[in-house]
Amino acid sequence: MKNTVETFGKMIYKLAPEHPGVVRDLLKSVYKFEGTKSRIAPSRPLLPARRYLYNMTANSICRGFGQKGTTALVSIFLPCQVLHAMGIEAVVAEGLSCYLTGAAAADYFIEIAERNGIPETLCSYHRILIGCIEAGVLPRPALILNTTYACDTNQLSFRRIAEYYDIPQYVVDVPDKPTADNLQYVADQLREMTDFIEQHTGKKLDDDTLRQRMLWTQQATQSYRAYLDARATRYIDNCMTSEMMDILATQILLGRRETAKYMSMLAADVARLPEGKRGPRLFWVHVLPNVNGPLRQLLDYTGNVDIVGSDLNTAALLDVDPDKPYQSMARRILESSFNGTIEKRIENSYQYADKLNADGIVYFCHWGCRHTLGGSQYAKTYFEQRGLPTLVLDGDGCDRGRSGDGRAAVRLQAFLEQLEHSTGKDK
């Protein structure tokens, strides 16, 4: 399988310079196939809910590669309920890049981005996104919509793409504290963003449709919290990719009927599992490097190690009021643990790690994410003072050149041994 993927990646690399349209069609076909295969006959023992999720995210990525001028390029924390209500597909750097790397097809796009002057210190998810657009493989989106957090990269890559393709861009400026004034400021901008979308797409937002999307958001949030409650005492034979796919579900895919269904299935699937733990239970901070082969060997489907949750999926599990959609979306943005100081994010991570009965925390320093990197030593001290051993692991979520395969694996394996020892598993 690995060789097949590598061969596919090499083919993409060779074709992309001259035939971006062919590459686009190939990627769409492969993702469609993979999505269907995951749903019908997954190669790994996935929960039914996760089979549903994999198919759902693959279809979303395929639609992102669809007709020119039909999608909206968004940042990961932008609330997409309005887009869903208007039938506009949201494309997000983290999802797109994750899928491209999964198909071993990202190398050419990284190369193009760096050749076009994008600094190699920039977050690789965004370098791949820029490369994919500037190589002509990702079709021109109709709109760009982004929040100013969670990272500096938002201000840079989206502005660059907007200028490159002359795409209308709306930026939601997010202050760092959830005060009443700030809540109003963000809610007003979200309303303005809706007008902006209507103006540039000619589509009209129906208030009832948006209300329905908010209802599904609320259902999904409640189900995910129920899942986490059940997860606190249960083991899943799992993989990094599932946790990564959940990031799409807990962020940009919120507000879809399918997402509410997925979250509900997930809660039910996990509730049916027997209680008990096996090996070390890990809480993960930041993205998961599911391209790193040696790390996958240590974490994916081991029958032992369990990634019980991640901070990206627990950043803002807040109730929403379907009758106050803009206020609700604004509150989710402002209260997200990724908005504001590093302390807020670390405290939130600790709360969930504790709730999920984690044995240890992996704090993943994704190359290019300065907020995460800067907080690494503070986080380690904070977690360990509260009894949670912490591994600060340097690497890259999706740039294979920076993923530091073997070196990261040695550190992680030693950490797992440490956890197994401290929890008495090795006796």
Binding site: K10, P17, D107, E111, E114, R115, N116, G117, I118, P119, E120, T121, L122, T148, C151, D152, T153, Q155, L156, R159, R160, E163, V171, D173, P175, D176, K177, T179, D181, N182, Y185, D188, G340, T341, I342, E343, I346, C365, W367, G368, C369, R370, H371, L373, G374, G375, S376, Q377, Y378, R400, G401, R402, S403, G404, G406, R407
Partner: protein
């Protein structure tokens, strides 16, 4: 004393509250402490700030959440307990009415917290007095701007010392041209409204949403050239540079700084080349000699080899030599003089003019003039082929890409000299690991079968990757091919950043490596021009410049 470091900091407000604000923008001696409490890959200015907070014993700090690194630094400084007062100002990304109101509330919050800390109240007279009577103005005559990301005080002084025109600091931290209130505003709320508006009206930094106001910076009267700085691990300004280099007609030089003490060689090569090639170049220091011996020469003192070319007074090529530089550039130069005498029969005293170039150029004491290798490579390449528009020089210690204007002058250049990846040294190291010599490596990779990719960016880690591949029984040909691809990839990226266009000429010792050349041609989709003696290109350019002096 309260330290601040961002131009959006309400400095005048702090004065009104009885504080003594001072702009803290120094380099640090090292980052030992900063990397212990944070991480080595966050913005180097922030690392320096963290380090200096501890080393210099700062007690009060006002920060602005201008970037992710600074947001993290706030958490670290707040929790390490060394400061008496710390405040993080939330700066909006937009500047309209609502954003201004949000920012005004932040100013109120600062007043509340600092007043409580110092037990003071806002003093409107102090506030007014804090604005300079005469606002800082830009130079009235022709000047060079240092633009982009902030530069440390010491780096700005170094740049100013090396350039032939006055230097103005137009970096993100240097453009705080704030005017005093033009009328009395008694109401505090209204005064803060005005103040918030003034602060948000400063020339926007790249962190702001609307950066169109920055264009005015590059159209200032008298602006004659731009030194464009990016701070290591700050991505904001690389984006602006990429757009600016394509748009501006002014000479522009890109540098990267790291807020550590300025090291001479790398910076002076860049600044020297910039000054040599820009329209404001001065001819000071040049001297013209007579024609006693009938020869001129150029000597290129590189990190690995020293090359020398001798021309007759009529411009005809007499010959060139290459010797190992060894541990000292001066020794390498003497070896080159000895080789010229032995192989070409020409004594040093017979040289009417000698131009030295390369990293060791200043160590060649008998040189009549020193010129950077950028200018010399450009001159040498153009002399050998008038079609050349881009020179790719992969040397032992660095690699550089030089863009040539229609008249053969340098239009742009980029260098990679802080990392061995993609240089001749990288290949030498890998050849040692593979137990073969560099010449052998050149051809071995051509017989590859399995298309391996060496994905590690760092030379040291790439070496361990090669060791793993050897252990994995991969053939030497496949591994070498992977290494050649890696060098080609790095070099092609450099070409892209320089805005390089065909025809390309490759110079330097690596031009002999058929594997690298082949892979680079694939990446650039263009044949490379390889001169007969690619390692002599810089020395030839130096000799041609020497020839100009005696003609």
């Amino acid at each position: 004393m309260i330290a601040w470091n961002c131009k959006y900091t309400p400095v005048e407000l702090l004065c009104a509250l009885g504080a003594e604000p001072f702009f803290w923008n120094s380099a640090a001696d090292d980052f030992g402490y900063a990397q212990r409490v944070a991480h080595g890959s966050i913005c180097c200015h922030v690392q320096a700030f963290l380090q200096n907070c501890r080393d210099k014993g700062l007690r009060e700090v006002v920060l602005v959440n201008c970037c992710d690194s600074m947001r993290s630094a706030y958490g670290i400084l707040k929790n390490n307990g060394d400061l008496d007062f710390i405040f993080l100002l939330d700066l909006p990304h937009k500047v309209g009415g609502c954003a201004q109101n949000i920012f005004k509330k932040e100013l109120f919050r600062l007043v509340e917290e600092y007043s409580k800390f110092k037990n003071t109240v806002f003093d409107s007279d102090k506030f007014k007095a804090a604005f300079p009577v005469t606002p800082k103005l830009l130079p009235q005559e022709n000047f060079i701007a240092v633009a982009g990301g902030r530069v440390s005080d010491s780096l700005l002084a170094e740049i100013s010392a090396q350039l032939p025109l006055p230097v103005a600091d137009l970096t993100c931290a240097g453009t705080r041209l704030l005017g005093a209130p033009t009328q009395d505003i008694d109401d505090f709320d209204a005064l803060m409204d005005w103040y918030a508006s003034e602060l948000l009206s400063l020339t926007p930094c790249m962190r702001m949403h609307d950066v169109s106001g920055r264009k005015a910076l590059y159209n200032l009267p008298g602006l004659s050239g731009i030194i464009y700085n990016t701070v290591k691990f700050c991505d904001y300004y690389a984006f602006e540079y990429d757009a600016l280099r394509k748009e501006t007609k002014l000479p522009i030089l890109k540098i990267e700084s790291d807020y550590l003490p300025v090291t001479g060689g790398q910076l002076s090569t860049r600044l020297g080349a910039f000054a040599e090639n820009a329209a404001f170049a001065q001819q000071a220091g040049d001297k013209k000699k007579g024609s006693a011996g009938g020869y001129v020469a150029g000597i290129d003192s590189g990190s690995t080899t020293t090359n020398m070319v001798v021309l007759a007074a009529d411009g005809s090529f007499i010959g060139g030599v290459t010797v190992r530089t060894g541990p000292r550039a001066a020794v390498g130069a003497n070896k080159a003089f000895a080789a010229v005498k032995e192989q070409l029969g020409i004594d040093k005293e017979q040289l009417d003019y000698l131009v030295a170039t390369g990293y060791g150029r200043n160590a060649v004491l008998s040189a009549d003039q020193t010129v950077t290798e950028i200018t010399c490579h450009a001159r040498g390449a153009r002399h050998q082929n008038s079609d050349v528009r881009t020179v790719i020089d992969i040397g032992g210690q660095d690699s550089k890409v030089i863009g040539l204007a229609d008249d053969g002058s340098v239009s742009n250049f980029v260098m990679n000299d802080k990392c061995a990846a993609g240089t001749g040294r990288f290949l030498e190291l890998m050849a040692t690991t593979l137990e073969m010599d560099v010449a052998e490596m050149s051809s071995v990779g051509l017989g590859w079968k399995d298309d391996l990719t060496i994905s590690s960016i760092c030379t040291v880690f790439a070496e361990s990757e090669v060791v793993s591949l050897i252990a994995d029984n991969r053939t030497a040909a496949d591994i070498v091919h992977g290494l050649h691809k890696s060098v080609a990839l790095k070099t092609a990226a450099l070409v892209g950043r320089a805005g390089g266009v065909p025809a390309y000429m490759i110079t330097g010792g690596v031009a002999h490596n058929a594997g690298v050349v082949q892979e680079l041609e694939k990446k650039l989709r263009e044949k490379l021009i390889i001169p007969d003696e690619p390692e002599l290109c810089g020395a030839l350019g130096a000799a041609l410049i020497a020839l100009d002096k005696v003609k």
